[in-house]
Symmetry: C2
DNA sequence: TGAGGAGACTATACGGCGTGAAGTTTGCTG
DNA sequence: CAGCAAACTTCACGCCGTATAGTCTCCTCA
């Protein structure tokens, strides 16, 4: 059996990485539709079929790309959250949300890959393509809700949400991280996610552009109202 | 020159309608990806090239389908709005929003067609494929905002939105219909659209499903909080 | 009435796609 | 050095959109 550091394995890992990198470059250039095995192979000086040695099918490759890109998004928003001063709940929340939108605007193709119909015939595997990264993003929003919960609880605690309403994999991450956040807080987090996703998604897909000249202003208003709706008074 | 009711024209109109109908059937069966000229032709006992007599290109056909489907959505939510009792602002708003989600759940492929990357290589014409239907939907949400504005104005009138922030085509519809709604009210309408679109979109694309067992409950909570955020007290 | 023309449709072809089967080269291992 | 497995190519199939050229049918008008 080959040792873990063998030349063969190293070359294989390098080629795998190159395939993914070329695929991401193609996506950035021509959108998710440009991710074709033949185009990747062309770019690498290979035959399309050679890629089957690394990925059983094109969908497997796309799934891996989704994981990669989704993780990059999660990293970006996590970093923004970590950098913002922990004292200011309102500022931290707005920083997180702005990082979310900024990442999407900077990587529209990646956003489409994660959240849209990614590639022509692509069919996501059961449970979604990247549940881990999705849970990471959701956990990030749960952090927003957790930070706001002391102010917001009297507004949202009324709901009749149960732990059983939510996905176990998500709760495995959220409950240990935020022991004081009740089910209603998780529901609040998911709603906030929906709000931000909706505005950004409409913008990325060009639907907002036919309504308003100024999506950024609309998003800023959203953030202002978000903080207010969380019961946080401070202007920032 | 052929008269307007000639046999030729009638046959032509019928064939055009059949193409669109078959395309919609294929979409309902196999998703937007299933809309291929060859599949349509196969279903109709024709050659794929025959369709070029009716649509210059596949994208033209898709654009027409988007218009058709988008109009169906607009009809559905308009009807829900018209049927709900005009007196109860809260009930009317919730009815509208529920109609929006119900239509999306009943026509997920249509929703994807309208709001997602529709079909493999499809490139929407400038200004979006169906600005009219989009404006109709937005006008519908503006009606929500207008109905709520007496309660909501003290919460949202502060913003510094101008008429010039919005698309002229949208304002052509909104301003005559709701003369009392200021720019801040239109911004509110777009934000509400974003909120609802986000939750429904996450649900349709399967991202919510990996977080919560019960998207309907989450949406109901959204509606409750929406009405509250509009300053409407009444439970319904 | 019969010729001309327009419109509807087919046949053929090209290049691109994902993918399966079979064959060939390369390099490690015993 | 023999053998083997991994990496890669070649060929093939059926799908796609679409361009070009040809055929058939029916309407119109002299």
């Amino acid at each position: 059996m080959g040792s873990t550091g063998g030349r063969r394995e190293r070359l294989r890992a390098e080629t795998t990485a190159e395939i993914k990198q070329v695929a991401l470059k193609l996506m950035a250039t021509g959108g998710p539709d440009a991710i074709t095995l033949r185009a990747i192979a062309r770019e690498m000086g290979m035959t399309a079929n050679a890629i089957y040695g690394y990925f059983a099918t094109r969908d497997d490759l796309v799934t891996m790309l989704i994981n990669e890109v989704y993780t990059a998004l999660a990293d970006a928003v996590d970093a923004a959250w970590a950098e913002a001063p922990a004292g200011h709940a309102a500022g931290r929340i707005q920083t997180w949300a702005r990082a979310f939108r900024d990442w999407a605007l900077a990587n529209p193709e990646g956003f489409r890959l994660i959240y849209g119909d990614p590639v022509p015939g692509y069919q996501a595997p059961e449970g979604g393509a990247a549940p881990d990264a999705a849970h990471r993003v959701c956990t990030g929003i749960a952090a927003l809700a957790d930070a706001a919960w002391p102010h917001a609880r009297h507004l949202y605690a009324h709901g009749d949400f149960q732990w059983s309403d939510f996905d176990a994999g998500l709760l495995d991450k959220v409950r240990p991280a935020f022991p004081d956040l009740p089910p209603a807080g998780v529901a609040l987090a998911l709603r906030i996610w929906g709000h931000l996703h909706g505005l950004v998604s409409l913008e990325i897909y060009g639907h907002l552009h036919t309504q308003t000249i100024n999506p950024g202003k609309l998003f800023q208003e959203e953030l202002t109202q978000l903080v207010r709706s969380l019961g946080i008074d401070s202007k920032e």
